[in-house]
Amino acid sequence: MQSFINGLALGWIYILIAMGLSLVFGTMRILQFAHGEVYMLGAYAVYDFVVLHGLPFLVAMPLCMATGLVLGLILERFFFRPLGGEFLPTIMIALGVMIVLQAMVTVGFGVTPKSVPSFAPHAVEVLGLRLGSDRLIAVAVSIALILLLYFFLKRTKLGLALTAAAQHREASLLMGINPTHMSLTAMAVGSAMASVAGGLMGSIFPLNPVMGGTALMKGLIIIILGGMGSLPGVLVGGLILGFIDGVAPVVSGPATAAIAPLFIVTMILVLRPQGLFGHE
């Protein structure tokens, strides 16, 4: 039960990562392979602000979010836009960016794992279960951000335009929505969310420069579970993954825990080549 709850808590952080990945895929039709690195950079940003500069967490998290936002804007403007959305060159640029960012963090911070002091080191007792309050806060922040994103997409003009562009690019273009602005928005929002996810994760687990790979894998699994570009699907996919992550290690050891999610996703692709909620 304990690890089940922990797994679900991590599931919410993965959802943050996958939301960004899905948003970018939906709007720009590209697979952002450097997304895991944005997450990793977010974690290191928090480490930098909190440990090296001694800022409190409440200041560091918004700064971390801003870092992700700016990074997303730079990536879209200078790396993805000039390519015009072609499949292969865009993937290659994303991979190149991924290698460069990883190496830059290695140069800046070294390869040894770094740890951020937990922002809430106490555990609380709920219904006889000991839960780390840092995890509870991480879940609360994730849910708040997801609600904020939901509100942004459904209630604001920009968000509605973004949804429209993700649903049908050409039709939204005819309605006077500028696709370039939408790509910029999607990258900014998606990267900010990934960055916060990194910041939250960094205070639970130690950070290292290759942590982005795992995050990318989890994000890919979730968006395939939920169907590429479908945000409610991401929510479902993330909870399924969190559930598996929580339950499988207890029931049948680490081997199954590592392989089971991948296996389930491949099974879903076998049965529905376009994902669970996807439509082609």
């Binding site: 390519l83 292969l88 190496a103 692709l269």
Partner: protein
């Protein structure tokens, strides 16, 4: 192209000279480290070319390393455990990778585009994790060590060639990879045009009577076969295999292989070869930069994608283009 194409004989003799020069590399180099790098370059050449065979039908596989792993482990285990000759086990490793590819081809080939890339990516990771968690086969975190080198061959009773040293293994690699490239070349010669039709528009290709699924299957299985061969070559060259996430069989290798192919230029057979050689050797030249080295690699990839979309292979074309634009254009102006 007013000067006309160079005639085929000149091309062929240039190729022959190049191949002879390649076999002289160990004699000239006399440096174990660089020889190691060259051996890796050969393996990368085979990986990138096998990936290109699949990509000719329009699907980008990001799971080549998974099939490489299958070939490497089956070859290593058969030669180490059962004492089978290495010649045979490398081939069996390739066949095993191809057989698994054949079994998996039905679900994998039902997916297209991004889904295909992600599917193969995940399959490779499943293979790696499955090996990692079966210490009986993979040796667990310590890895599988003491993989035997190929046995000596007796050349007409005159000389005995052993493969214990790096330089002789280099020659073996060169021979096997060149033969494999020849096979890939012949396969593409006979099926390449059909593959191009499938790649440009698979629905249209199907409507004119092309068996799209069958052709994709052939390309996929052939590509995976040679990835398996590359794995076998790698196993008997390194004598040590690990399934650590950051080692050879991690997902980064698939990504690197895709980069070799695209950066070299996937439109032509020579593209992945040039890409693999240049991008394996260039970071080694940058080795004095230590931890800045991957930045050089990544920046190189980004540069190539921005300014030379057709890949390194099209460098002469781009040079001419830039020349015409800058100096040539200025000269013509009145």
């Amino acid at each position: 192209m007013s000067k006309g194409r160079p005639n085929t004989w000149a091309k062929r003799s240039a190729l022959a000279i190049l191949i002879v020069l390649l076999f002289c590399v160990p004699a000239v180099l006399q440096n174990d480290y660089w020889l190691f790098v060259f051996c890796l370059a050969w393996i990368n050449v085979l990986m990138a070319s096998s990936l290109r065979t699949i990509y000719r039908t329009g699907e980008l596989s990001l799971g080549q390393v998974g099939f490489m792993l299958l070939g490497a482990y089956s070859s290593a285990l058969l030669s180490k455990g059962l004492g089978m000759p290495v010649w045979l086990t490398i081939l069996v490793g390739g066949l095993f990778a191809a057989a698994v590819a054949l079994l998996l081809s039905y679900p994998i080939l039902r997916t297209k585009g991004v889904y295909f890339s992600v599917f193969t990516f995940l399959v490779a990771e499943i293979f790696r994790l499955a090996m990692w968690y079966t210490p009986g086969l993979s040796g667990g975190p310590a890895g599988l060590s003491k993989i035997p080198p190929p046995g000596a061959i007796n050349l007409l009773g005159i000389t005995l060639i052993t493969f214990t040293t790096k330089s002789s293994y280099y020659c073996l690699l060169a021979v096997v990879v060149l033969l494999s490239l020849l096979v890939l070349f012949r396969v593409e010669r006979s099926l390449g045009f059909t593959w191009m039709a499938i790649r440009q528009n698979d629905d249209l290709a199907e409507s004119v009577g092309i068996n799209v699924r069958g052709h994709k299957l052939v390309a996929f299985v052939v590509g995976c076969f040679f990835a398996g061969i590359a794995g076998g070559l790698f196993a008997h060259f390194m004598h040590l295999l690990t399934t650590d996430a950051t080692a050879m069989f991690g997902m980064l290798t698939s990504i690197y292989v895709a980069i070799y192919m695209v950066a070299g230029g996937e439109a032509r057979m020579a593209g992945p070869i040039v890409g693999a050689v240049v991008l394996t050797l260039a970071p080694e030249v940058a080795r004095p930069l230590k931890e800045y080295q991957p930045i050089v690699f990544g920046a190189l990839v980004i540069f190539i994608m921005f300014f030379m979309r057709q890949g390194i292979i099209a460098l002469p074309f781009y040079l001419r283009l830039w020349w015409d634009r800058t100096l040539g254009g200025a000269g013509k102006a009145p």
